[in-house]
Each structure stands twice: as C-alpha cells, then as structure tokens.
C-alpha cells in the first residue's frame, strides 16, 4: 500500500490554477524527486500536502488517512515534515530553541535528546552556536538548521523544497548524506524538489516532472534524465 497518495489534486490562487489534477503515489522509504521550470507548481504541490494551501479538488492520504482539508499541525503530527522554500528559521529563537521546537510534539525525551546529539554531530557548527539567535547564521547555515529542525520532528516522510539552493556543493553532499542515511536506517521517505538534476542522478529514485501546474512525466530518475524526454518536456 502506498504511504502517500495524491489523487486528482487541484489548487488555485484566486483565478490562477497553480496545480491541476495532480496524481502520484509514494511507497514508504521511497525517494521521489520533483523537478520542473519556475512556476511549474512544485512548491504548491508540497504546500498542498503540508496543509498550508487547501486543494479545491482531490484528496491526499498519508498512511491510509485523509489529510487534505486538515490543518498543518495535524499533518505534522502524523509524521509529515516540511521544509518550505526560503529559509524559515525563527531568527529571534536560539539555534537550540529552533531545534527543540521541532521536537515539541514528541513525548519520548530520550529519543529527542539522542536526535539532538545526532544533529549536533552531523552539523558541529550548530552545536558551537547553539545559544546564538538563529538570525546570525549565514544562509547556508540556516538551510542546515531548517533541515535539522525538520528531522527533529521525528518524521516518517520529509518534504524539502530546493535543499541545494544557495548551498556550497560540499554542504549539499553533507545534507544528502544525512538524508540518505536516515532513509536507509529508519526507512525515512524523501520527497525532494530540486531544479537541478545532478542530485537525482547521483541518488537515484523516482522523478516527477512538472510544467504549468501539471505532472507531465513520471519515471525512474536516471532513465528520465538520460533520454531527451526531459528536455522536450522542459522546453515544450
């Protein structure tokens, strides 16, 4: 059975239809990349799953339960963690407070402490500055913080909107190392929006290609990227 299923979902902003009849499914532990030109509706798709925008049509199910029409905090509590585009750190909160906020809904204190230690191990820079307000971090460091914070929620599925944007290649490697390790160790399901195809080529997994609000192609990432199909889809 699929872990996430998006069925016939349409989202409108006023008269603009940003997402039209989107359909796809993800199995638990799977990696799915979403790519496509600017304005294709990639972020809108993620926001619809997170409950930040409400579809006018269609249904979204997570782990067998309908989540479309419910509020973001309930969806988060069902194991969906979202890293939206643009680095939304809480600038007045310290780095550790940002991380702890992510863990706020978890009851298991020991697991939270272990995850916090894990975060600091992977991103030692965060530990060094744990008591500083998050606003002082550089853009790349903020990106690390929001991903670490999303992981602190103890998610089953993490959706990340353009994790590589503005990060140095070395840091991108680091971020993907963490994500793939969690996927392999804990069966974390990854839904990642990336404009560049390099990561999908390296990582493998499935890929959706979107254009003007529609999913126009779906398949194995490497196969899609090898053929001309993608180029054609991109440039019409």
């Amino acid at each position: 059975m699929s872990f996430l299923s998006v069925t016939n979902v349409t989202v409108r902003y006023g008269r603009l239809t940003a997402l039209r009849h989107a359909n796809f499914k993800m199995a638990a532990g799977e990696t799915l990349f979403v790519t496509g030109p600017n304005g294709a509706g990639k972020s809108t798709l993620l926001k619809a799953i997170a409950g930040v925008v409400t579809p006018v049509e269609g249904q979204i199910q997570l782990a067998g339960q309908v989540i479309s029409g419910t509020v973001p905090e309930d969806i988060a509590r069902r194991g969906f963690s979202m890293v939206p585009e643009g680095r939304h750190v809480f600038g007045t909160l310290t780095i550790e407070e940002n991380l702890r906020l992510g863990a706020g809904m978890r009851a298991d204190k020991d697991a939270v402490a272990a995850d916090l230690a894990g975060c600091y191990e992977v991103f030692p820079m965060l530990r060094e500055r744990r008591d500083a307000p998050a606003a002082v971090l550089s853009g790349g460091q903020q990106q690390m913080l929001v991903i670490a914070r999303a992981l602190m929620t103890g998610p089953q599925l993490i959706a990340i909107d353009e994790p590589s944007l503005g990060l140095a290649p070395k840091i991108i490697d680091q971020v993907y190392d963490v994500l793939l390790r969690l996927r392999d160790e804990r069966g974390l399901t990854l839904l990642i929006v990336e404009q560049s195809s390099t990561r999908a080529l390296l990582t493998g997994g499935r890929m959706l290609l979107m254009r003007s609000g529609e999913i126009v192609m779906e398949g194995d990432a490497r196969e899609l990227l090898r053929g001309d199909a993608l180029k054609q889809a991109y440039f019409g």
Binding site: E73, S81, F90, T92, M105, A135
Partner: protein
C-alpha cells in the same frame, strides 16, 4: 531630591499601566496580526464586574466585596474569560481575513462591550471603594508616596518577570515566540495554532484585568471610558515599540508614561491643559525618526 523622587515614581506608576496595556495588545498582535481595539473594554469590563449592576448613582460592591485573596484571581479569570470568548466567538472566524477586517471587528466588539456596560450601569462614573487602606502615604527617602503606587509598580515588575520567564522557559512560551515570528512555519512543526492563540488571549485578558484592578484602586472610580483611554496610549506604545516586539511595547509604555509626567512638570502652567498634545507631538517625532518603531522585529518584514 524628594520632588525628583516623586516624579520618578509617578512616571513609573503611570508607565506601568501603559506597559501592561501595550503588552496585552502586542501579545495578540504577535500571534495573529490583530490590533485588538476591544482590549480597553476588557479593562472596563473587569472594573465593572466588581460592582452590582444598577443605573443608580450610588454604587454597591459586588465581586469587589470579596476578600482580596479571592477577588484578584476572580477578576483575572474574568479578564481571561472575556478575552478568550472574544477569540472563540469572533476572531477565530476571521483568522484568514485581512488585518483591516479583523481590526474593524475588534472595534465592533469593543462597542458591544461598552454598550453592554452602559445598559447595566449607565454612563455616569461611579465611585468604587477598593482597598482604601492602600491610599495611605508611606515615606521613602523623604518623599511621601501612596502605598498603592509602590504596589502597582512592584506588581507590574513581578508580572513582567513572570511573563518573560513563561516565554523563555516553558514550551508554550517557546511556541508562542515562534508563532509570533512565523505562524505558518510553527504550525508545520506541529505547533497547535488554536492552543497558542487561546493562551495568548488568556494572558492578554489577565493583563487587562490587572490594569482594571490597579486603576480602580488608584482612581476610586469606575468609568466606562477608563479602559479606552488606556488602550489608546497602549496602542501607540506598541507602535512606537515596534509592532510585534514585546520588549519594545513595555519600554515604549514606560517612555510615554515618563513623557506625560515630565510634560506635566516642565510645561508652563498655561500649557499644561495641552499636555497630551505635546506627548503626541513627541510620538509623531519618534515615528518620523523611526517609522518601524524602536525595536522592530526583523521578521516582521520578511513574513511569508
């Protein structure tokens, strides 16, 4: 020396009221971008709750005759109650509406509360006899100060310290600060919007109730307009402090209190009736100098 001391304490006690008011407004603005103009009417509501409803000129104590140790929590609860109810009945339904709509709704709600009180008590100010012993002067460094003034200042400080400990040290406090900065992101991390907003309204209502208690004891009168005039200054304080900044609201509240008291002292006798005009002129100058307020939170600009 004693004159200066007197001025300092006057400024502190007037500033305390403005600071508490500004804080109540800033808390709600923080979590829902609402300037709640009904806030002042919560203050009046709490004051009148101490009296027996009647349109006679004579007033009779109702809740006000309870022993202090019961009276204070009861009035705080009443403040929290009206505030929370207005969220549940009115503001919750307008949460996705634009800020102007919410603000107008808050005006309307304030109007309804005011007229409800008018109906029960008529528009005549009434005397209220709360803690008369506290009006007695005590001598500090040669200055004779009403005990109540000292208590009001002390209580305000306790409230400010307690609130900042709540915000810094508890999980709800953490969630409230995060929600004030970026509500949508906080919700995506599992922060329950309704819960955070209800807590903010409850605290804000208790702040209004504390102002009501202090004003009733200080002035010995209950007046339907009393909350509204505090609300106006408190609102200005939140703007000067930088809308959304709690610390800014408190500091600006004390600054306006100090400015009012100072004007009263330094203005020539003939100009004193226009004291408030001078205070507002200072406010305008301050806003021209820093339109974003003294402590504008950076996040307010880059909101999603």
């Amino acid at each position: 020396m004693t004159a200066i001391l007197q001025i300092v304490f006057d400024a502190l006690s007037l500033g305390s009221i403005y600071a508490l008011g500004a804080l109540g407004i800033a808390l709600i603005f923080g979590v829902m971008r609402l300037v709640n103009f009904a806030h002042g009417d919560y203050i009046s509501f709490c004051v009148f709750a101490m009296l027996v409803p009647s349109t006679d000129a004579m007033s009779e104590m109702f809740l006000g005759s309870l022993p202090t140790i019961v009276l204070i929590p009861v009035i705080l609860l009443i403040g929290a109650g009206v505030s929370v109810l207005s969220e549940i009945i009115v503001f919750r339904r307008l949460r996705d509406a634009n800020p102007a709509t919410m603000m107008i709704a808050s005006f309307a709600l304030g109007f309804i509360l005011k007229h409800f009180l008018l109906m029960l008590f008529s528009s005549r100010p009434k005397s209220i006899n709360l803690w008369p012993d506290l009006g007695l002067p005590v001598e500090i460094l040669g200055a004779r100060l009403p005990l109540l003034q000292l208590i009001a200042i002390g209580i305000t400080i306790i409230i400010l310290v307690a609130l900042s400990a709540f915000l810094k040290r508890t999980r709800f406090g953490l969630e409230m600060r995060a929600a004030a900065e970026n509500f949508t992101m906080a919700r995506m991390l599992g922060v329950k919007a309704n819960q955070v907003i209800l807590i903010a309204f409850a605290i804000s209502g208790m702040l209004a109730a504390s102002i009501g208690l202090i004003l009733a004891a200080q002035t010995g009168t209950s007046d339907i307009q009393m909350g509204v005039s505090v609300m106006l200054v408190a609102f200005i304080a939140t703007v000067i402090g930088g809308l959304g900044s709690l610390a800014g609201a408190v500091v600006a509240g004390y600054l306006i209190g100090a400015a009012s008291v100072l004007m009263q002292v330094i203005l020539p006798l003939e100009a004193r009736p226009f004291r408030d005009a001078f205070v507002y002129a200072a406010v305008i100058a301050c806003l021209i100098w820093r339109p974003q307020g003294l402590f504008a939170p950076k996040s307010a600009k880059q909101r999603v």
